[in-house]
């Protein structure tokens, strides 16, 4: 395999230069025809946000406050060349801060050691049988989907992989899935806070990940970041974005996607076209389906808090505590159910399906030349409004693919089923009252099995229509086995069991966990509720 990222370090400085140049160039026209006013605006915006942030910071970071304060006082008196120099200096600093690194030796080492590490993480019982058995991770993590097609397309163009996002483990298990599926490594943006973990940070730093500092809210930084990701795609580096932006707090499947990074794939395609580079770019939707989510407790608490949505960066969750990761590993070791990483059908940047030959096709199978979407009267034409709408449509195609390619697992099935039974018993309660008051409720086991059968029939119908996918066990196993497996799985890791078996009853212990896992089925709630009515 000869992935472009193997040669990244040779081009790194050039990439940083291009990003800096483009960012400065784009700012010159920001506030109309007066470049000085535009550059003033950019610096004022950056100074305002940074002073506001640093005034609340401590330690080494706070030392930068005086620099920004000095700049804020000077901006109004600076000439246009001075403003340009200042913007360039700071853009250069940020592009250097963002830029990743790729060390082929670390990649070779990680490709060898990651399966062992993840094997230990997800199936430590195998350690007793030797390292060789641990490496057979495919029993614990199932990688499935359109793998032949994605492999073929990786040879013909640039992949932009867009997965669902539930856990900070996502990039690690996805990295493993790329190795396992013989797909090329990708570059991706990772929160700067994740680099603070010395071990994981080391690998991320040397495997092409670039740093995203989500605390920086000013347009100078955001533009540098967007330029960086776009330049990488333009230059043919296979990339990975989490279009949900952050981990799904509710446990649900992301449907409101951040279009900025998806837009940079289209911008990269457009830029390539203007330069006469006809290489295609392919969007590859991926769903990551966990029977248990490492950070479930923190995420759902955060979601349910009024302020939860605003708390964008969580740096004190289970991922930040090595003990919890180990505990997760140890408790998950006996799981019957595999984690599933599913690669969906790739499409071009306009949402058209793509064949093995790399050719885009319309809904009727007619070959499509995607470059023509940027044409007007026979020539490529720049039209930002058009491109924004194209991106919105492609975002909708990704969101649809997330639904179709989601693989539902027993914990999610049982979570939704039990919470639905609770809703039926107390329809007058709102969600918060329901979650507060249902702990300790008992459900007749046989009744749950009956409801489970009806729910399964409805889900099979949906799967037959291509609307969703079911874990094979969910489709065929006896219902009592599915429920027992889910109860056992819930009990293996979380601090409180979501659900317990007590004689011929099931007892709800942690309704929030049922809600978190059950949210995965919410997109289909209407036909599923009908099936249970």
């Amino acid at each position: 395999m000869n992935a472009p990222i193997f040669h990244f370090n040779r081009h790194r400085e050039d990439i940083e230069r291009e990003v800096t140049h483009r960012a400065v160039h784009s700012f010159a026209n920001l506030a109309g025809s007066d470049p000085a006013r535009s550059l003033q605006y950019v610096l004022n915006d950056a100074a305002f946000h940074e002073i506001h942030r640093l005034e609340r910071s401590r330690g080494k970071e706070a030392e930068r406050l005086s620099d920004w304060q000095r700049l804020a006082r000077r901006i109004g008196r600076m000439s246009e060349p001075e403003l340009r120099d200042e913007v360039e200096r700071r853009a250069r600093y940020y592009s250097s801060d963002v830029a990743g690194n790729f060390d082929r030796r670390v990649y070779r080492f990680a490709s060898g050691v990651l399966p062992i590490g993840l094997g230990a993480l997800f199936n430590t019982t195998d350690l007793a049988h030797g390292v060789a058995s641990v490496r057979n991770l495919s029993k614990r993590i199932r990688v499935e989907g359109n793998l032949d097609l994605v492999r073929a397309l990786s040879e013909k163009g640039t992949l932009v992989i867009v997965p669902t996002h539930s856990s900070n483990l996502d990039s690690i298990v996805l990295g493993w899935s790329l190795v396992h599926a013989q797909l090329p490594p990708c570059t991706y943006g990772a929160g700067k806070n994740l680099f603070t973990n010395p071990l994981i940070g080391y690998f991320m730093r040397n495997l092409g990940a670039y740093r995203v500092d989500r605390r920086l809210r000013h347009i100078l930084y955001k533009d540098v970041l967007k330029c960086y990701s776009q330049v990488l795609v333009e230059r043919g580096y296979h990339s990975l974005f989490f279009p949900g932006g952050t981990r799904s707090r509710s446990g649900g499947i992301e449907q409101h996607l951040k279009l900025g990074l998806l837009g940079s794939a289209l911008s990269a395609f457009s830029e390539r076209l203007l330069r006469g580079d006809a290489r295609p770019i392919y969007i590859v939707p991926v769903t990551i389906n966990y029977p248990l989510v490492l950070e479930a407790e923190t995420l759902i608490e955060d979601y349910l808090k009024e302020s939860g949505r605003a708390r964008y960066i969580i740096d004190d969750d289970e991922f930040s505590r090595v003990g919890r990761i180990v505990q997760y590993a140890l408790r998950v070791m006996g799981l019957e159910t595999s984690m599933v990483i599913r690669y969906g059908a790739p499409f071009d940047v306009f949402g058209n399906q793509v064949g093995l030959d790399g050719q885009s096709h319309g809904p009727d199978g007619t070959p499509i030349d995607p470059r023509r979407y940027l044409f007007r009267d026979g020539e490529p034409v720049s039209d930002p409004v058009r491109d924004a709408e194209y991106t919105r449509q492609t975002g909708a195609a990704v969101a649809d693919a997330f639904l179709r390619e989601t693989v539902l697992l027993p914990t999610q099935f049982v979570g939704w089923l039990l919470l639905q039974r609770e809703r039926r018993t107390a329809p007058e309660l709102d969600l918060f009252a329901l979650l507060r008051t249902t702990s300790g409720d008992r459900h007749d086991y046989a009744e749950v099995c009956d409801d489970g059968e009806r729910l399964r029939r409805a889900l099979i119908k949906l799967e037959d229509q291509g609307a969703v996918r079911l874990d094979p066990a969910l489709r065929t196993a006896p219902m009592d086995q599915i429920i027992d497996d889910a109860v056992r799985t819930f009990g293996m890791y979380h601090l409180r069991n979501a659900l317990e078996r007590s004689g011929e009853s099931l007892v709800v212990s942690d309704p929030k966990m049922l809600y978190f896992y059950g949210n995965r089925l919410e997109p289909w709630r209407d036909p599923l509720r009908e099936a249970l009515a």
């Binding site: 058209n352 809904p363 009727d364 023509r372 009267d377 409004v385 058009r386 709408e389």
Partner: protein
């Protein structure tokens, strides 16, 4: 496909599909604003051919030669037309339809059908109270072009407008298309009310509540607040009431007289009522007028019962 410029005025090539009255009227408008237009329809069908506009049955060749496409066929013929057109449509094709209603097989809005069956992405819809007759008579009228593709919307506007035809643009494509359909369906209810001789005050009440309901349904089904109050919604509804003889009013009158089979001949209205009512129910939307129209088409309620039920519903604040 090439766009030539002479004296600063661009000459664009268009293909108008559908040679009914509306298709021919809009083709004439496009030609009058300096565009090269080809009309696709039934050659020699007996209808008067617009002067200076070539008429062809060859859809494929016409589409290959032009990237601007105006579709004026009835919604019932749209899906078959799109299937025939799909192999000839490219990424640079820009398409606008005048179709109103939902497709008979998939129950999709016109633009939803375009996206489902073709590779075209730049789409728009034209709606409003104007018709071919008003264009021919040069009566002062207005249309709205719904499209998030601003340049395409402006191109359509510039191609159609005249001293007597004002053309507005609106980025809310979904809202324009939905308002246009809802106005026709709710017009059935207003027709039933008028047939019961409820009087002008009751009609005014029905109109205001109809608008509130249309706005609510449009918002919840993906459009924007306020679009229903524009030409595609209020424009169409008020034209129906002022003219007093449109298809929805006639269908409503048939329902009020218990002639359900006669009303059901307007299949596109019955189907739109059924589909939109089901979509509203799925979203748990309050849409009492839609429900009543659907109920009358289905024979579950009479116009008198519907009116009585609407009048005795629990009251809410006006803006709720």
């Amino acid at each position: 496909m090439a766009r030539s410029t002479a004296g600063g005025i661009g000459v664009s090539t268009w293909v108008v599909v559908g040679d009914g009255q509306w298709g021919r009227a809009l083709a004439r408008r496009l030609k009058a604003t300096g565009n090269l237009v080809t009309l696709v329809g039934e050659v020699g069908s007996g209808t008067r051919k617009p002067k200076g506009i070539p008429l062809t049955r060859d859809l494929g060749s016409a589409l290959t030669a032009a990237e601007r496409v105006l579709i004026t066929v009835p919604i019932s013929a749209l899906e078959d037309l799109l299937r025939a057109a799909a192999p000839h449509l490219r990424g640079d094709h820009r398409l606008v339809t005048t179709c109103r209603g939902l497709t008979p097989h998939s129950h999709l809005r016109g633009i939803e059908a375009v996206r489902a069956l073709t590779a075209v992405r730049q789409v728009a819809v034209v709606a409003g109270a104007a018709d071919a007759d008003s264009l021919r008579k040069k009566s002062p009228v207005a249309l709205v072009v719904g499209s998030p593709f601003a340049l395409w919307a402006e191109e359509i506007r510039d191609g159609l407008r005249s001293k007597t035809l004002r053309v507005y643009t609106n980025p809310d494509l979904v809202g324009v298309e939905l308002s246009n359909i809802l106005a026709a369906v709710i017009g059935v209810g207003l027709g039933a009310a008028r047939s019961l001789s409820v009087g002008p005050a009751a009609e005014a009440m029905a109109l205001t509540r109809a608008l509130a309901e249309m706005d609510r349904v449009v918002r919840e089904l993906g459009g924007r607040a306020g679009t229903a109050y524009g030409l595609a919604g209020l424009g169409v509804l008020s034209e129906l009431l002022f003219a007093g003889n449109g298809v929805p009013l006639r269908a409503g009158a048939s329902l009020a007289k218990g002639r359900i089979a006669e009303a059901a001949e307007h299949r596109e209205l019955r189907q739109a009522a059924r589909t939109l009512s089901a979509r509203a129910a799925r979203q748990r939307l309050r849409a009492p007028l839609l429900e009543m129209v659907e109920g009358m088409f289905a024979g579950r309620v009479t116009a008198e019962t519907a009116l009585a039920e609407l009048m005795t519903r629990a009251s809410r604040p006006e803006g709720d």
